[in-house]
Symmetry: C5
């Protein structure tokens, strides 16, 4: 799970060279078109060889949404770029799936890069996918690495003419798509929240070595999430502030709302960073506490039995009592053995009392 998506094999290439630098996630690029206005909608998939027909959507009066799934085919993307008059550097950024989120204004369109984040339950890690937007006057082109179900919600809205979407322009459609992705961030946060709560319980009850790994993993995920969201905040803030020609006035209130949501996500992410740092320290403290308990047991046992063993050792010495009355006369005493046991018992009891006072039991 590397932090950095590398721009392999790109060294020395001219800027604007179209080379896909990510991981190929779908077999075949799929181009689907949604063409709608308030009255109706038209939906179709476009075969690769009929790509020139896209040019019609550039000028017709309906709102057109072109979704391109799978961006490994640099040549195809290049053709789309030609049709819509997109600068090669923009196309290069679209193909570079490790690019940071950003917004750029051009004469014909606004270009936005965002990150879609999903929680992969099986691998227990975050899936990060780049989604790029080309928002023109009446059209929106989206570039996805692979097909997902997140945008289907919006497709259904268009089909069912539910809400404002069919009544509004391409700018509102773009807003709704980004909003849906931001809603997804909340789900990811929820997942992180769940795991953090679980970790907390584990740490206070029985810290394992795996807890440490989990702390580190969550920390890395929080870093990744932050990396996707913080530039997105700046993007939406820029969109909301500046007067872009392709964004209708009525859309600004929605962008402000979106901005609020992203800020909330960032606040929460920052709080998690703090909590995870705290948990790391809790782990260290808990481990130290556990060791303390172990050493205490060792000390109690040793402290009690080592002196007793010493006394037994004394009575085990082989001095010959018959040679001299000084030589261990106690071995010949009538009550020597009970006396020895009594001494040992007293030491034992004394030790127990000592540790009781130290509150070690």
């Amino acid at each position: 799970m590397p932090l950095l998506k590398l721009r392999k094999n790109k060294r020395g290439m001219s800027p604007g060279s179209l080379v896909f630098t990510g991981e190929k996630k779908v077999e075949k690029t799929k181009i689907s078109v949604f063409d709608f206005d308030e009255k109706g909608y038209h939906e179709k998939d476009l075969p690769e060889d009929r790509i020139e027909s896209l040019s019609e959507f550039k000028t017709n009066k309906n709102v057109s949404w072109l979704n391109i799934c799978g961006i490994h085919d640099a040549e195809l993307i290049g053709k789309v770029g030609e049709i819509f008059n997109i600068h090669p550097l923009v196309l290069e950024d679209i193909l570079n799936t490790g690019h940071n989120p950003k917004v750029e204004e051009f004469d014909d369109f606004i270009f936005v890069i965002t990150k879609m984040i999903n929680y992969n339950k099986e691998l227990n890690e975050l899936n990060i996918e780049q989604v790029s937007f080309i928002l023109g006057k009446n059209y929106l082109i989206t570039f996805q690495e692979k097909e997902g179900d997140v945008f289907d919600i919006i497709r259904d809205k268009i089909r069912s003419n539910n809400g404002r979407i069919r009544k509004s322009g391409a700018d509102y459609l773009a807003y709704r798509l980004i909003d849906t992705m931001v809603d997804n961030y909340f789900l990811v946060l929820e997942k992180i929240d769940e795991r953090t709560e679980y970790l907390e319980d584990e740490l206070f009850e029985n810290p394992e070595k795996s807890s440490l790994e989990n702390i580190h993993l969550i920390r890395k995920e929080v870093i990744k999430l932050r990396r996707a969201v913080v530039p997105l905040r700046d993007i939406v803030h820029a969109l909301e502030r500046e007067q872009y020609p392709f964004i209708a006035k009525s859309t600004y209130i929605y962008l402000r709302d979106l901005y609020d949501h992203i800020r909330q996500i960032i606040d929460t992410v920052e709080n998690y960073r703090e909590i995870i740092n705290s948990l790391q320290e809790v782990y260290l403290s808990s481990a130290s506490h556990k060791m303390n308990e172990v050493v205490k047991i060792l000390t109690i046992i040793s402290t009690i039995f080592i002196p007793l063993t010493f006394i037994a050792g004394i009575y085990g010495m082989n001095f010959r009592t018959d040679i001299s009355v000084w030589n261990m006369p106690e071995l010949d005493w009538k009550y020597g053995y009970p006396f020895a046991l009594a001494i040992m018992g007293l030491i034992f009891i004394g030790m127990v009392i000592f540790f009781k006072r130290k509150k070690w039991f």
Copy 2:
């Protein structure tokens, strides 16, 4: 106690869809109205089915305070919104109880979201409740998640015509309500202070594993408190700076005072963060110190008795003195035993002096 109140089931919904996303805290929504001017006041509870009658308060010349307790009934809130001409996105924010505090200006009113924080003594945790304000020309609408006693103080003031409140407008009323909530933050801080002081004593005297949990708990509460207060500072700062049409000039001095109080809370909260970080380190140090003590006892006992036991072991060897004069002749000495005991005594005394010098006693 999750950090994030989730926007469950909201994914894919149109913006402005009214869905309550919090936890239902009261059985039935209660709408109570206070209508007052300098001369008198009128107080009543409104049944849900007579909600249209609210429209009269929008225009009459008295100050009207509509308090809506319980916001789980999205439909009812929707009706209120229609009567007072509130944008659906605003209503959505009111219903989303996990929203960050914020202020927004509209043509007809100012919209403010704040957080009420109480310390729940039984569960030993913070209760956070969202309170939203719609401040219009002559009316104030407040939305609470559940009934609390905090606003009763203000109700009594209105009834008894005590202070400036009956003489001033809806803006002063809003100020007083927020001020009362901020006073409550002081009580929460007081509680955190108490617990921190208690923790400190515990840590220096006898650090327990529970101390660690308490540090972590307080840290999380401080994060929560900060999260509520920091945006509130920005809100009050904005209100105090910008010239809002619904806020009387005479109210600004009070807002400045309120701003001072909030800043003091934030300063204190930041100081607690630092102190809590320090306490975490103190815990680690104390635990390490405790372990040190335990290991010292272990070392003393072992270091004293292991050599003694070894000597006793020497004299316990079964070499036959009758075969050779080289074989443990000391066993046959007259004063062999006292001699052995003396050696052991000397070692014991030497060890004690050694440890005294090391200042281990």
Copy 3:
């Protein structure tokens, strides 16, 4: 030593209600007046019942300094406020001894809150006292929690007509009083410096558990000091920058000098924070080092004597040599015992060399 002075019993009170929220530090409020110009001075204590006579100082042409010692008597402060036309919110701030330092401009006067800090040698802690200033055209009113000797230096200067003070206005007097308090901060820093130096030596020589407590205490004091000084910097910066009507042009250069001093204090305070953090880590490291030493002794003793004891144990086994030549024939050897001792001696020497090589001695 709580961080937060609480605004107890204030919840729900109207803003501007005069309630003393601190700790009563003197029995009786003392009002003393200094009235002076270049030619002479007049000094007297005013009985509480003749408080109305204060009004004369508001208008006469001399510089008048009214010092009010003890602010627990809210009613009295209220009367003073009436005479000098002070807004109730200002009086409330004066009585709230936990207020953060601040400056506010009014039509008739400038209002400043500062903190006087003394090091209490007996309790080994910082005494923080609130001192408020009302700086009018020809008068200065100071409110102190209790009488201290810090201002006596200034009183002597007035009496002896030493320096610029009698030649200047109330603004210069106010500057001199604040300057004297800032000089006191240097003394407090000196005290902290001394204790930090002492702690450092202690930590490197023989870290005790009390060191840890002392680190924590100093850290809290540094937090308190910072809390008093940082807003004071902003206050003096504001005074120096903005053109206040009651501050003479010639005073600005002194304010700039004062600002420099405060900045120096803040720089030093920040450096102490860093050093104290470092000391905390040094404590942890030292404790760990100490433990290491203890464990080393334990290991040396155990590692040397446990094998020796084992060998002695071997020779202490009761196999009957008469039954079989295989049963411990060494017990019957002529030089068995010296041989055994020799083996033990060799092991002992081997161990010592081993530990020497490990550099444990």
Copy 4:
């Protein structure tokens, strides 16, 4: 691997004194010239004694790229400076290979200092080399410490007239060179990423002492990388914002792209700092865990065998059973020995169960 390249022997010299302060990395300075326009190119190496001929490139209409490899010869650099009218302070900065990256505008040219970073696989450390640019109207002079292969890519592009480079001016050439160096930073990041991943695995599986050294090494490399990249961001930002006379309008979009890349590198570097801090803590935790395991084994063995040995010691005491029936009658029991073994067995089993419950196995 010192952080600071020292300005040895420079103390007291006049500013603008030309003294090479780095390490001599090539034997002989090599001056190579590329002179090209859209139609053709001319490439040659210039002997040191014909250096005056450089002056022609200052004025001719083609784009001229002068690359000077090896800057230890201060006199030579001084001559170049004279020809191109370069301020001695600029030449001094070129010769001071420890200078921070910066940009400065002059009347005739723009002066830029950057750092080339390579990962040295053999020494496992970062190679940092200073590359300075003098960008004039039609010429670009680059100063390198030693020959590298990084710029060869660009040379090939010029030779093969591949891409925009032959069609554009000296500004685009400079951009391409810097871009190539930034691409190299990505390779360095990749290397750091690889090593961090490797470290992570090592830390969680089997932390060694060398891991600690590696963490420290990577941390230092990240510091170095940041030190080179952060000022470069400011440089490119300044170039992109301000309207420099020698930079064509069409180049700005490329600078913006470059700026994006540098920002991405910085973001990644910051993330690595955080991850490395986390790894340091993981190391400490892992070491603590490992110790815990060791101490547990010690405790188990000691706790089980010390009491057993004590019991054996009891039965090894030499009380004479024939003198008194109180003296260890159990030695004369018929089943005394099996009984003793049984007791030991019971204690052993009890201990094992005790530790099982503690989950130590």
Copy 5:
């Protein structure tokens, strides 16, 4: 080595009172004058009683450099102040050797405070000395605490008419003096670098308790250095930005160069802070590792020999084999002893294999 130079005995003094607050470093104040223009120079030492003759340098057309070495004589400094019309507050700052670096503009001159830092090899600590500059139209007055050799380099330049110095004004002279001091900071950094490198090696090879002290010492020196350099950056930045009347246009490019150097120092200092923090953690980790090694040895020895000793203890029990066949018949076996040794050997080998597998060897 206190952080704070105290303003002892200054409490309550009027601002502008001339009291020397530092440590007296020379016996006698020495006033030396350099008077030069392009054509020649004049150098002399001035006796204290002819101090009034200084006034001539205020007005003559040559550049005059007055260096005052030793500032403990407040009266003398006062006289100089009178001659050059220096405000008492400025003189007070000159005498207060603990003042932070700063720049202040007056009608007649610019006042600058800087810190000279030298590394004292004998005491192994930093020497910090305050150097103040009064830069007037044609004169420069410098105040030093004691004579040093740093300025001699500049004196030689003046004497030998080497470089621009004789051709330029007092502003260039001041720049050169500050530049020389900044060059000295590089030497101090070099020293810190050396010691950090040494510490690093020590920490990874054999961390001693003294390493900890050294880390703390270096950390404090870095704090001190930062404290001197950061305000100096602001000073030079202000000088370079604002158009001061006494600074020639041609000097600004040198100030910019100086600013670059100071920024480089600050960057390096910040990097050292980070590296030192890292080293502190490395120390802790190394100490923990060392302990781990010690505990491992303890565990190995104990784990191997304690069970063996137990077995020897078993065979040392005194059960009487003649009473019952159940009583330790193995003592009477023919091969009992070899059998016992064999068991012990097997346990020993088993243990060794166990620890091998744990990779403890």
